[in-house]
Symmetry: D2
Subunit: 275 residues, 4 copies
Amino acid sequence: MRERIRAAGHDVVGYDPRPEISDAASLAELVEKLAAPRVVWVMVPSGVTEDIIDQLGGLLSAGDIVIDGGNSKFTDDGPRAERLGALGIGYMDVGVSGGVWGITNGYALMVGGEKQHVDHCMPIFEALKPAGEFGFAHAGPVGAGHYSKMVHNGIEYGLMHAYAEGYELLKASELVHNVPEVFKSWREGSVVKSWLLDLLDRALDEDPELANIKGYAEDTGEGRWTVEEGIRLAVPMNVIAASLFARFTSRQEDSPAIKAVAALRNQFGGHAVKR
Amino acid sequence: MRERIRAAGHDVVGYDPRPEISDAASLAELVEKLAAPRVVWVMVPSGVTEDIIDQLGGLLSAGDIVIDGGNSKFTDDGPRAERLGALGIGYMDVGVSGGVWGITNGYALMVGGEKQHVDHCMPIFEALKPAGEFGFAHAGPVGAGHYSKMVHNGIEYGLMHAYAEGYELLKASELVHNVPEVFKSWREGSVVKSWLLDLLDRALDEDPELANIKGYAEDTGEGRWTVEEGIRLAVPMNVIAASLFARFTSRQEDSPAIKAVAALRNQFGGHAVKR
Amino acid sequence: MRERIRAAGHDVVGYDPRPEISDAASLAELVEKLAAPRVVWVMVPSGVTEDIIDQLGGLLSAGDIVIDGGNSKFTDDGPRAERLGALGIGYMDVGVSGGVWGITNGYALMVGGEKQHVDHCMPIFEALKPAGEFGFAHAGPVGAGHYSKMVHNGIEYGLMHAYAEGYELLKASELVHNVPEVFKSWREGSVVKSWLLDLLDRALDEDPELANIKGYAEDTGEGRWTVEEGIRLAVPMNVIAASLFARFTSRQEDSPAIKAVAALRNQFGGHAVKR
Amino acid sequence: MRERIRAAGHDVVGYDPRPEISDAASLAELVEKLAAPRVVWVMVPSGVTEDIIDQLGGLLSAGDIVIDGGNSKFTDDGPRAERLGALGIGYMDVGVSGGVWGITNGYALMVGGEKQHVDHCMPIFEALKPAGEFGFAHAGPVGAGHYSKMVHNGIEYGLMHAYAEGYELLKASELVHNVPEVFKSWREGSVVKSWLLDLLDRALDEDPELANIKGYAEDTGEGRWTVEEGIRLAVPMNVIAASLFARFTSRQEDSPAIKAVAALRNQFGGHAVKR
């Protein structure tokens, strides 16, 4: 992301614990190197975000702004904004999508925060977002950026699993002999064309049978939070929840639930069980 | 079932290809040994039902009745009734529940057919069903018996899976140390008490960790037909379908769908895949 | 519940804000009326449980025991036990199932707490539980009782919805003319027999078409917590989640999600939308 | 589609029962107007396809080819190919995606049939498909075209519903004030960008609250067939089935299943029901 902002003509000072890619020896030095009013974009693993932001609270001055561009849970944003706000420091949460492709394509940005802070940082957002009218939204107050990103990722779970079910069915079919070609055909002209479809086609080009990939998928938090929010707000989440549960299942060596089902079938019907 | 009918004082002649448990050497001899008007109860693996019924059509006389007590698909019943009806032979379909416990408990019977045939065979149904007011229904015309049994089994899939999910969650919990005891406690006084729960408790008595059972479950047709009927009639079947799909998943060595999900995650996020 | 405990020969002093059914004018008087070591069973709407328990902490003495028999969330139990424990007061959480039928049938009890407290209160549990070997479990430490009850209720959601889907399919079928009779037939001899089935039969006796009941169902917390716990522990919860989501849907006047689906169909296919 | 083929320099004679848009007065005249070997592309409502194809069988000559570009079920294709093949007439099934936008964007084509027939008709496919390397696949033998289109539409159901659930959650959120802007932001740079997303943004531009659209969605066959095929081939279809069932639910005035749930809650818990 540093590259895209620099390419837009801004000065950027980056800090990373690995000296070889860091522009500053410490957070404190990073703050020193920036002229006030500073904007500090935090993009760190979610486990350390809270700590970094509190450190920044001690280093920055009134009028500075902290942006969390990582995948924090939206419920963390309000308390952070309050803690920093008490010191006169602004806070925005920015959901960032784009993955490893963002450097070239630009990143979609969903921002939560006060209008004055958004306006102040707009040049940075302009540098990061894709050219054109899309790729940026001021979604609402503090928290709305991470919330939007969370829902974005929840949708992503559902989209991926819809393609995945179709893939599995085509593979199982006796009629369709050329599954990768069928996916490729959908990339233009079809109703299901999408960037994810392009990527699936790319994966099938590299490995037409996906022979080198195990059916094992992690999940990273946003999918869970999306379903939890659905539960909190009484919003039915059948598709996204099913996508999430399928990942859970993929990581099980054996299913305790199906053990119970098999035990029951054995009890009432004398059906053989696998041992 | 022969035992329960005989115990009720009826003459029964049984035919089975295995001579050691058969009362007749052939279907023809079975028919000969019965006095008209005959009632022939067919209970054979679904693959051979059609053939047996057609053989019976050639051996029986007008006024006789054929009952299919197996797990035929309900759509087979109408055509059979027509074929036999053209010969003056009656036909009823009877869904039979009870599993290996039916000999002692009695079998729940769901009957499809004409009222006159049901009335004629009522003594047999009385012998087979449990004592008391429950365990028998004349569900409707030919086909309604197997239809009701199909739905019964579809419900059974959902019930089993609800207990199974609860079982898995209790097993995963850090707090509940005594999962079999908890299931046992529900057998009286609780809202979830049921015969299936009794059986699950019995299975946990035999093997408290279900350590000797693999998480692998077959399905036998009725669950699939139930969901297909839901689709035909636009009836949402989320629970029963999910129970069915979980069995499908349990039989897969690896999931092609999750391979596709893992491939996608690798493509856009650089997430590591398992190989 | 007071009736069952009194019937077992114990002295019970009940407090309720409604004087006409209360044995004491206040919590303080209730505590006074009991001889130490006291056992106080709290069974109040979940919104006020926390407050009542804290009041009791101020009124009781070391050696007394507080039992929460309401539907508290299991995560509340540990902190309560700690607060009371600091005063020398014991705490147990008891999940209670049985609904309005418990007075006659006994209540299934799932207990979380220390063994010494469980042993001390066993006579009360004996009075409340159904006669016989079932209906009681010491599930684990503090929290395990409410946890077990939560899972019990989650299972209950799934069971109810499995019957409900079967009911809807039978109603939609062209073949099954006598849906209430079919449910009645399952009450004995069938694999799906259960207390819930008995109740559904009872409801159909009262109103064979369920004509006087709207398809609208509340949910009361435990179903949500069950799915949330499934998410936390990576346990797939397809059936219970689907049952929960169906209740959410039942309470919507219109579905924003389906509005979006209809809008999309209109955009790409020119499919008519309902306005 | 006629326009795209003509634009590519081919002669096209169209027949439609409505004379004002028809180039021929009858199917027979259409056949007469074409020079052998003829290629006849059938694109009619699925209810009449079978009849039209049989009529064409009587009018065409050996060496001609019939293409069904409608949404027939894949199981119809084999028998048609056999019937026409007996007359020396070739048959191909072509799944066509693109909706009302295909005229300008080109249509994605999935073809089932023999290689010689595909090769012969390639110029037509070239005219219809989008420019470039995508938008066309020879998926396999007769039936594979409609099969691929069926799966395409099943995926489409899942994709649409994933966006729809995300939409509903964002609408329900207290934090996100600008839901249409958030969707717009995803159109570039995000992982969920797709043509369907573009269309949803378009719909939200026209009606930001979807206030003029009822939450009511039809389904047109392919979604049902996809789930049925999943069932036949034991492929779990949780996401696509949930999307389909949600449409079923959207068309119900009241839910018989939830009536049963409400009746049960009333029976065991005394919970009030809505009447």
